[in-house]
């Protein structure tokens, strides 16, 4: 039977829509909303999507399931008034410095106020000024612009399974903040920035580094080199009305603009993406051969890397040690480029343009520096690049495309599709699997790893071995894979993880989008771009080959490791410790008992009890300080304790007692 709603007197059919908001949208009416995102759970808190349903009164469309025959009005006087009042009330407690807001022109609150024709705000301004949070390299939180829709909270929890942000307090005191009201930097945030993407206002925005760039450009002693990531060409056109436009053309226009701004060289991160594939494919083959830390996880997404470092330290050795394309670019630019370009090292300024906020954090990882000098000085997002183009006054659409500078300008299709979820895997497969299917289009052979689902599994034959591969986006999906692998429920050889839905094209540094078809369009741009490329396998890139020959030797060589690989480190999520002894003194023997969740369930409580009793019996309470720590960072070897700085893994009550006794005897 045909199911329908009567919307403003018009019949609109529906089938599986979960709520009437979606059906109404299908009927051509875009209801205003802050808190409804089709990717997230329904929250129903902003009350802007109110509609009148005959016989049932005024309801929030986002949380009302459709029933056939419902008669709905979306624009009665009463509804319009309700919406206006809601927006006015929000504005009454909002920092209305719109002209200086980073979200100006893409802010939903601003758009809605204009759309509803709000001319004055009848309510007294009750904004409590709160401090900006500028603690991270990636994001800025401006609590004064928060409308409490909870989109960021839900994204972080539901899609990323992190929950770095949460609601705190109640009623008029409600705020969204990291745990204990602290700064974002101290939280478990992985800087994916998707909170900023879904935020309807400017309450969370990517941190801008534009000013530093203009400053560097105007310094005549400096040579500023820049490289743009694959995903940038798929989205920057949107800002200038060229959404979905050919990637090569858009990238070419960007090159022209950057050259005009005064950048000394404009490179393509797709080149180093090719290198990443060459190096990573080599690493993968070696690992497969030796069955060494399989599955191998990709490591090009810095949000994912931080995720593993802080939640799954035991899996760190499963991460590919290859630097990300940005990391490789940084290393080559900083260490090899001065020689190629014959310029003094100290005059070089290295900039990258990324679709990503986490890349800003990645660039400052101590592992991507040498002798205290960081490889990449500044990281711009696609948004910032678009802003700079606007600031400089270029008519983007009229710019003639130019070519990237060599050698870091030539790329294969494999380097370009890197920006899509599944792209890294596809490029690696192009490199490692010797295809003997004559007549098959090289570019499309491995396209089975493509798709829109958050978890995709593929089996491919590599010689006699069947490779099981997973392609994942969203860290909650990744967490599930890790748990399954941990519990031996499943076996994979290769797992690609990107934190952002859709991969880098859906990154938080990209122009803000809410319509999910935008992401599909961007993915298509990259795949189309790949088709037009001369070469598709990263290992065929002649400039990559030359760079290896001139500077790095073979893939996987010692030199290649020095320049193109990195390392990871367990990242403590909690820094809290708890004094168990009633008084703690500096010179005493320190005994730390780990109470991380792993050790707690493995018996740290019994060990603690034993230690406390032992020290009491020996009457040495004044000499031993007992402290509970979360945690001692060796989860797979728990329960752990630390006596006078020495860690005892797989600790028992007896081992603990002996260690403390030994220390006491030294006194």
């Amino acid at each position: 039977m045909e199911k329908y709603l009567m919307i403003n007197g018009r019949k609109v059919l529906f089938d599986n829509e979960k709520n009437i908001l979606e059906v109404i949208k299908r009927g051509g009416v875009e209801l205003p909303t802050f808190c409804y995102h089709s990717e997230l759970s329904v929250h129903g808190s902003c009350r802007l999507c109110m509609v009148e349903v005959k016989g049932r009164g005024i309801l929030a469309a986002c949380s009302t399931p459709p029933e056939s025959g419902m008669e709905i009005k979306t624009n009665t006087e009463q509804i319009i008034n309700i919406r206006k009042i809601i927006v006015e009330l929000l504005l009454a407690s909002h920092d209305r410095e719109c002209t200086t807001c980073a979200k100006s022109e893409s802010c939903k609150l601003q758009t809605l106020a204009r759309r509803l024709g709000i001319e004055s705000i009848r309510f007294k301004n009750i904004l409590h000024k709160e401090q900006k949070d500028v603690s991270t390299y990636a994001l800025i939180r401006e609590p004064n612009k928060c409308v409490l829709c909870g989109d960021c909270v839900r994204f972080c929890d539901e899609i990323q399974s992190i929950g770095a942000l949460g609601f705190a307090n109640r009623g008029s005191q409600s705020v969204v903040c990291p745990g204990f009201g602290k700064e974002l930097e101290s939280s478990e945030c992985v800087y994916c920035g998707q909170c900023a993407r879904v935020c309807p206002t400017g309450a969370i925005v990517p941190k801008s580094e534009i000013n530093y760039i203009w400053k560097a450009l105007s310094n005549t002693n400096k040579k500023v080199v820049i490289a743009i990531a694959p995903a940038v060409r798929a989205s920057i056109g949107e800002v200038f009305g060229l959404g979905g436009e050919n990637g090569t053309k858009v990238a070419g226009k960007v090159v022209t603009a950057l050259k005009d701004m005064g950048f000394y060289k404009v490179f393509d991160i797709s080149f180093t993406a090719d290198m990443t594939i060459v190096e990573e494919a080599n690493e993968f083959l070696r690992r497969i051969e030796k069955n060494d830390n399989i599955p191998m996880f990709t490591s090009c997404c810095p949000a994912w890397v931080k995720f593993v470092e802080q939640y799954y330290p035991d899996f760190i050795k499963h991460l590919s040690t290859c630097r990300s394309p940005q990391g490789m670019y940084g290393s080559i630019a900083r260490r090899i480029m001065p020689e190629i370009l014959t310029i003094p090292k100290e005059d070089l300024v290295v900039v990258s343009v990324m679709p990503c906020t986490a890349k800003k954090y990645e660039a400052r990882r101590p592992q991507l520096a040498k002798d205290g000098v960081i490889d990449i000085d500044y990281v711009l997002t696609t948004q910032e690049l678009a802003m700079m183009i606007g600031e400089a006054g270029y008519r983007f659409n009229e710019l003639e495309p130019s070519a990237f500078d060599m050698p870091l300008g030539f790329k294969t299709g494999g380097g370009v599709i890197f920006g899509n979820s599944g792209g890294v895997t596809e490029a690696v497969l192009r490199n490692v699997v010797d295809t003997k299917f004559d007549g098959v289009n090289e570019a499309e052979q491995f396209s089975l790893v493509r798709g829109e689902a958050g978890v995709r599994e593929v089996k491919i034959n590599l010689g006699s071995r069947e490779l099981k591969i997973a392609v994942v986006y969203g860290l909650k999906n990744a967490r599930k894979i890790l748990r399954d692998v941990e519990a031996d429920k499943t076996r994979y050889d290769f797992v690609e993880v990107m934190a952002c839905p859709g991969g880098c094209v859906g990154g938080a540094g990209q122009p803000v989008y809410t319509d999910l078809t935008v992401r599909k369009k961007r993915a298509k741009v990259l795949y189309e771009n790949d088709k037009t490329m001369e070469l598709h396998k990263p290992k065929d890139n002649p400039y990559v080959q030359k760079l290896y020959k001139d500077y790095l030797g073979e893939p996987g060589s010692k030199k290649a490791h020095e320049y193109l690989h990195t390392s990871y480190k367990y990242k403590k999520r909690f820094k809290e410790t708890l004094e168990i002894s009633d008084s703690v003194e500096n010179n005493n023997i320190k005994v730390n008992v780990c109470f991380g969740n792993n050790c707690t369930t493995k018996g740290s409580k019994e060990i603690l009890k034993h230690i406390v009793n032992f020290v009491e019996q020996e009457n040495r309470k004044d000499k031993v300080d007992i402290i509970a720590s979360i945690c001692l960072e060796k989860c797979s070897k728990g329960p752990n304790i630390k006596v006078a700085g020495k860690t005892i893994e797989h600790c028992t009550t007896k081992a603990a007692e002996e260690a403390i006794r030994a220390e006491l005897e030294k006194l």
Binding site: L165, G166, F167, G179, F180, E576, D582, T601, L608, I630
Partner: protein
């Protein structure tokens, strides 16, 4: 050993008894507050870690309910009712008087020596006795500024004797 260990031991026991179930967060927090008289941040972090929930979520629950407090409380807790009935019977003057008496500044609720904490509550359910003040567990009805001052003096005197 000392009280620190006993308290921590209780927290571990509570978590175990609740089978590390995150759905039991509220009752876990209640027990912790009984033990420590407030919710220390380190303990909340420990709870978040063992229950495998984010600190932001634990913090959200702990700040949502008026019953929970994240600040250490003083030895003597004076709760002054500012519900509707008490409010019209001038409970605000009681609050002012006792805060002045104890020398509390703007947002402070406890004295520096942690002897007193002043809590303003919405309703104690004893409107017939308005205005009502509860000192520790003892209810005092029909309070006046003079009476509240003498209650504080009494406690101060007892503390001196000790």
């Amino acid at each position: 050993m000392g009280s620190n260990y006993d308290k921590f031991e209780t927290v571990c026991r509570i978590l175990e008894e609740n089978k590390f179930d995150k759905a039991k967060l509220i009752s876990i927090l209640q027990t912790i507050q009984e033990e420590y008289k407030y919710l220390p941040e380190e303990i909340l972090a420990f709870v978040a870690s063992t229950l495998k929930i984010s600190p932001a979520k634990v913090y959200g629950v702990a700040t949502f309910f008026a019953h929970f407090t994240l600040e250490p409380k003083g030895k003597h807790i004076i709760r002054i009712c500012d519900g509707t009935a008490c409010h019209v019977k001038r409970s605000t003057s009681l609050i002012e008087t006792v805060r002045n008496k104890l020398g509390l500044k703007e947002n402070e609720i406890s004295t520096k020596d942690m002897l007193f904490t002043i809590d303003t509550v919405a309703c104690l359910g004893a409107c017939g006795l308005a205005p009502v003040v509860v000192v520790n567990e003892e209810v005092h009805g029909q309070m006046t500024p003079d009476k509240i001052v003498s209650l504080v003096d009494e406690i101060l005197k007892q503390e001196e004797v000790k």
